[in-house]
């Protein structure tokens, strides 16, 4: 017995090494699984405030660009508003529940953003205090950006679309064929559109938009444009579609968050039907 203890004491450094590596690997695995509990990440208050200070300084230099984008968007929205405004001679009708709003929108600022790993995340400066919840979709004027992963009081962390773990339900705009967009970890301006069968006629230049099936994004948010059509080498039943992402992830500053107000109802319906929703 004493020998064993002595032996264990002699290799204590190795044992500690193995222990620490196991802890590290366990953290990597649990952090990367979509359902995993996020225990520490940059939505932590201290880390969040440091990142916010950094973003405050850095983003000061891109204020002009951000302003320009906001003005353009304002102009577009004003145009839409004009067409919706009722004429004085029209009769207002009570809106049917069928047409009531399913989605709520919020704005936030990106305070940290990674591009160069295969699991990339975005930190936002709004948290549960501002009504942000895990599962909300993130997009900006250019297109889809990601999905909120975890939330603290003042900050939240979102999967970037440049995260190999995130699938976004989407469809080809011209033909309504749906599939899932997933990043393959290589080029930060390109992703793959998966599960599109071989018989589908599609060509370079077709837009890919969100499908609205997954209760994260409303239908019709642009994801990108198909830049390459090839038969899939691994599975000949599908096409290998490369999508050029419309969002420039290296310049993210202001984003919108969207919440499906019917999410709970949908989710419980799916549960009742014993469907697994992959978001």
């Amino acid at each position: 017995m004493l020998r064993i203890l002595q032996f264990l004491y002699r290799i204590r450094a190795f044992l500690l090494f193995v222990l620490l590596e196991v802890v590290a690997i366990w953290m990597i695995v649990s952090n990367n699984s979509p359902q995993g509990a996020a225990f520490f990440n940059s939505s932590n208050a201290v880390v969040g405030s440091v990142l916010q200070k950094q973003a405050d300084v850095v983003q000061f230099f891109s204020l002009a660009e951000a302003n320009e984008a906001l003005t353009e968007e304002n102009a577009a929205i004003m145009g839409q508003l004009l067409t919706l405004q009722s004429k004085p001679d029209s009769l207002p009708l009570a809106i049917d529940s069928l047409l009531s709003m399913d989605y709520q929108f919020k704005g936030a600022r990106v305070i940290a953003n990674s591009l160069r790993f295969s699991q990339n995340y975005i930190t936002l400066n709004k948290g549960s205090k501002h009504g942000i919840k895990p599962g909300m979709g993130v997009f900006n004027t250019e297109g889809a950006v990601g999905r909120v992963k975890s939330v603290s009081e003042n900050y939240s962390v979102a999967f970037s679309l440049l995260n190999t773990g995130l699938l976004v339900s989407s469809k080809i705009k011209s033909s309504d064929v749906f599939g899932s967009v997933q990043w393959n970890g290589e080029d930060k301006s390109e992703a793959k559109l998966l599960y599109v069968p071989r018989h589908v006629k599609t060509q370079e230049g077709d837009s890919v938009i969100t499908s609205g099936f997954n209760a994260v994004f409303p239908e019709g948010i642009l994801i990108g444009i198909i830049s390459k059509v090839e038969p899939d080498k691994k599975d000949p039943n599908y096409l290998d579609l490369t999508v050029k992402l419309s969002t420039d992830f290296s310049k993210l500053t202001y984003v919108y968050l969207v919440e499906n107000t019917r999410f709970n109802e949908l989710d419980s319906l799916y549960r009742q039907a014993e469907m697994t929703n992959e978001y």
Partner: protein
């Protein structure tokens, strides 16, 4: 390790950490070469430090960076790996090189040639563990190897540059 060197070492770690988080985090030359400057903090710990405290220091240093990098566990795993290999590697290279005299295996103490042969393999191991963890199941071996190679070259250059600029000769920290 006396109290003075303890304080200066803590300051060094703090500075390296700040530089890493504020500048190097957003930098990757050609999308390939990442700078892991803070590894310097693990490299230049005194030779006499025992493996157990070294492992613990490295693990928590890595974990702190992970929180900012949003890569929980990856830096910690890589830093722990080099902390474990470091004493063995120091011993192995001392047979031929003779580090026994030097208190700290830093550039002013052991000279540039020996420092590169000491630091480069450790930095390469660090990058290898880090990128393997990052690209697990997604990237290919070529991607991991090329990123590791270029990152370790870049990091070694940074580490040497910082020591040339800021470390005083014959005054180990």
């Amino acid at each position: 390790m006396n109290i003075r060197s303890l304080i200066s070492f803590t300051l060094l770690l703090l500075m390296l950490g700040l530089v890493q988080i504020f500048f190097l985090k957003n930098l990757a030359l050609f999308g390939q070469a990442f700078g892991f400057l803070y590894v310097l903090g693990i490299l230049v710990l005194p030779s006499s430090i025992r493996t157990v405290p070294l492992l613990i220091i490295a693990f928590f240093l890595g974990l702190t960076l992970d929180v900012f990098y949003e890569t929980i566990g990856m830096h910690a795993a890589a830093a722990t790996a080099i902390a474990f290999v470091r004493p063995l590697w120091l011993k192995a290279t001392s047979l031929t090189g003779g580090y026994d005299e030097a208190e700290t295996p830093s550039l002013p103490e052991i000279g540039i040639g020996r420092f590169i042969s000491y630091a480069f393999p450790l930095v390469f191991l660090y990058s290898l563990v880090f990128f393997t963890a990052d690209q697990w199941g997604t990237g290919g071996l070529v991607g991991i190897l090329s990123k590791s190679l270029f990152s370790s070259i870049f990091t070694t250059l940074l580490v040497i540059l910082v020591q040339l600029l800021f470390f005083k000769r014959r005054r180990g920290i």
